[in-house]
């Protein structure tokens, strides 16, 4: 658990982060979203003390982060940034091995961990371990960047606009991969973005920041249906907010007993995707498939629409 208490950052007369308090549960994804200059990056960077707070404190699993030297703290916390920041003069394997080496792991353990991570990130160790960053595509570089951040098995992973440099298709794949990896390792992820869709897609909870303050810190659906602040509603109440709300619920969660006459959809698909399928095929109800591959229920258009209504 990460406890941020009255955290504050001032540069001269300018207050960049203004007495922010947040509690981030272990094993969740928290997204800090805001416009540029809102202080979101500064807030993130104060967690691993790349920026030293002017006031307040951060507790990770009840330990004050100020209690140890900053570089030792950072070795326990994963860190991934936009544009990956890979070391151009080191191979993929050497890049991933950075923190384990700093921690003095035995070389056999380092090698095993590097290979495991490459496999997890769908990079064939035999082909990629010896390559240099400039020999990789943008998506591959980004995956190596995240693999490197996770190398020393940190409990906490901080990500600063990690997918900002990727094109939409690769970005969407990278977001899916991140959720898969989060489930696999149970890492607590704090991610900064200016992209509301990304925040809704990834965050168990979303903190909306403006002018150094957190305006609302809540589940994504609550930001849509119960915005706490005019700024939050301006950010979330775009033309497609109903669709956004639909995208937060999966077919399995909303399914009712029975079998639809229309297309079969995966239980993990969002209601937004199911609705799109139904509109496209002209059917009135879809069959929701369970994880065992057998029909598990059905979804009618009316039921889907009910989920998109402000309640």
């Amino acid at each position: 658990m990460i406890k941020i208490e009255l955290l504050r950052k001032q540069y001269g007369p300018v207050t960049v982060v203004n007495d922010v308090s947040l509690t981030i549960e272990s094993g969740t994804v928290t997204v800090i979203v805001g416009t540029s200059g809102s202080g979101k990056s500064t807030l993130l960077r104060m967690i691993n003390r790349l920026v030293e707070p002017s006031g307040g404190r951060v507790l990770i699993d009840d330990r004050d982060t100020a209690a140890e030297p900053a570089h030792l703290l950072r070795r326990r916390i994963g860190y991934a940034i936009q544009g990956h920041g890979l070391f151009p003069h080191r191979t993929v394997a050497e890049n991933i091995a950075t923190v384990p080496r700093l921690l003095g792991w035995k070389s056999a353990r380092v090698r095993a961990r590097v290979e495991e991570l490459l496999a997890v990130f769908q990079l064939d160790p035999a082909a990629f371990a010896g390559k240099y960053p400039h020999q990789l595509s943008g998506g591959q570089q980004q995956r190596v960047g995240v693999a490197r951040a996770l190398a020393a098995e940190p409990n906490v992973l901080l990500m600063d606009e990690p997918f900002g440099a990727l094109d939409p298709i690769i970005r969407s794949k990278a977001q899916d991969d991140l959720l898969g990896i989060q489930r696999r390792f149970g890492t607590t992820i704090v991610l900064v973005t200016h992209d509301m869709d990304e925040a809704f897609r990834l965050g168990n909870r979303v903190a909306v920041m403006s002018d150094g303050k957190v305006l609302q810190y809540d589940r994504p659906a609550m930001l849509l249906t119960k915005p706490a602040d005019p700024f939050v509603s301006r950010l979330t109440c775009t033309g497609d907010r109903a669709m956004k709300l639909l995208s937060l619920t999966t077919a399995a969660e909303a399914a009712e007993p029975g079998i639809g006459e229309g297309p079969s959809v995966d239980g993990s698909a969002s209601l937004r995707d199911v609705l799109s399928d139904l509109v496209w095929s002209g059917a009135g109800a879809a069959t929701v498939m369970g994880s065992d591959g057998k029909p598990a229920g059905r979804l009618t258009i009316a039921a889907i629409l009910a989920h998109g209504r402000q309640t």
Partner: protein, 389 residues
């Protein structure tokens, strides 16, 4: 003319220009000059009067063939071989001419290469350099070629074939001093470089970290560069002289207003700007994301500097060191004026005695030294750049 023939026929502009220069050199300029002793002005001798007819003709036809290749052949390997062949031919002819012109047992006459010889050598050298540039040899090949050339030149000089040539005569007279001045020359150039690197690197890092002092430091170092070297020697003479006179221990260290001390200090000051400026430029080109990621992963400040920033800046820093080394090797020559030693000693002694051969004894090794260090460091920079893309 068929289309294919047009394509095969090559017209080389640089080769044509250099060939014309070569023809003019042979036509208008003396190839070899005869002097009754080392300081009187000489008389040009025509090759045809000096060498057997067949060797003169062979020489001229070889040069003609090389000119044709330089104008009409595009293949860089053939051009290189031709140019090297030409250089060997020019060397053989000048050595042979010196041999033929020297009366047996006469140690006073001086047979000097004339202006024609030098112009030909430069033209051939340029054809060779151009061919090498077109071949784009890898760094290792370039260093190897330099080594082979150095060994070949050393062997040729040691063979005694050129002993009747004026420069070798001067060398024979000054052999023991030559070794000493060579060592002194290298010592002054490299010593001031090492000092500049030891001071300049930390200064460069400081400038990188503190933008406020960067402008001031670079400004001051640029200002130093604008002081002419002679003036700087003069400026240093006064305080060093006073210091040596006041503090006996300073004088005991061998420091005085003239000699090696002001020379090293002046060279050191000149060297600082390239080292500091390139360190700053090299550090500036390291991506901020890379540095941020390094810090974020828990590298200490020192580790970030040494293992990331510095390594990535190394090619640019080495380029600065290359500039300094070549510049210093040239500047050390002037240090001889204030008793600093080095090859400049021969240059200024030769100028004083109007003995141009003695000037060349100082100048040619200086140029060779500067050229060799440029080739070596360029190769090193290339290797670094390739490793650190």
């Amino acid at each position: 003319m068929t289309h294919a023939a047009t394509r095969r026929l090559h017209f080389d502009r640089l080769g044509t220009l250099l060939s014309l220069v070569g023809v003019a050199a042979i036509w208008l300029l003396p190839f070899v000059v005869f002097k009754i002793n080392r300081i009187v002005s000489g008389h040009p001798r025509a090759l045809i009067d000096v060498l057997p007819q067949w060797s003169t003709l062979t020489f001229y036809s070889t040069l003609a063939l090389i000119a044709v290749i330089a104008v009409a052949v595009g293949n860089a390997r053939i051009r290189l071989v031709a140019a090297l062949l030409g250089i060997v031919a020019v060397a053989l002819v000048i050595g042979g001419a010196a041999d033929a012109l020297t009366p047996p047992g006469n140690r006073w006459v001086r047979i000097s290469p004339g202006a024609g010889f030098w112009v030909l050598l430069i033209a051939l050298g340029l054809i060779a350099t151009d061919a090498i540039a077109r071949l784009r040899p890898r760094p290792g090949v370039r260093v190897l070629a330099l080594l082979v050339t150095a060994v070949a030149v050393a062997a040729a000089l040691a063979s005694g074939y050129f002993d009747h040539l004026s420069i070798m005569r001067e060398y024979a007279v000054n052999a023991s001093r030559f070794t000493r001045e060579a060592r002194q020359h290298v010592l002054l150039a490299v010593g001031s470089l090492v000092a500049a690197v030891l001071v300049g690197l930390p200064l460069g890092v400081l400038c990188h970290r503190l933008p406020r002092i960067r402008a001031v430091i670079l400004e001051v170092l640029s200002l130093i560069q604008t002081i002419p070297s002679i003036a700087l020697f003069g400026i240093l003479m006064v305080p060093l002289g006073v210091l040596a006179a006041r503090e006996p221990w300073v004088a005991q260290l061998g420091i005085s207003g003239i000699g090696a001390a002001p020379a090293v200090i002046a060279l050191f000051l000149y060297s600082l700007l390239p080292v500091v400026a390139n360190t700053v430029a090299g550090l500036a080109r390291v991506s901020p994301a890379t540095v941020d990621a390094a810090r974020g992963m828990g590298l200490t400040n020192w580790q970030v500097l040494v293992a990331i920033e510095f390594i990535l800046a190394l090619p640019v820093i080495l380029t600065g060191i290359r500039i300094v080394l070549v510049q210093n090797i040239g500047l050390v020559t002037i240090a001889a004026l204030i008793g600093g030693g080095g090859f400049g000693t021969f240059v200024f002694q030769g100028l004083g005695q109007t003995a141009i051969d003695l000037v060349l004894l100082g100048a040619i090794p200086t140029v060779a030294l500067a050229f060799s260090s440029a080739v070596l460091l360029d190769a090193l920079v290339d290797v670094m750049n390739k490793a650190l893309r």
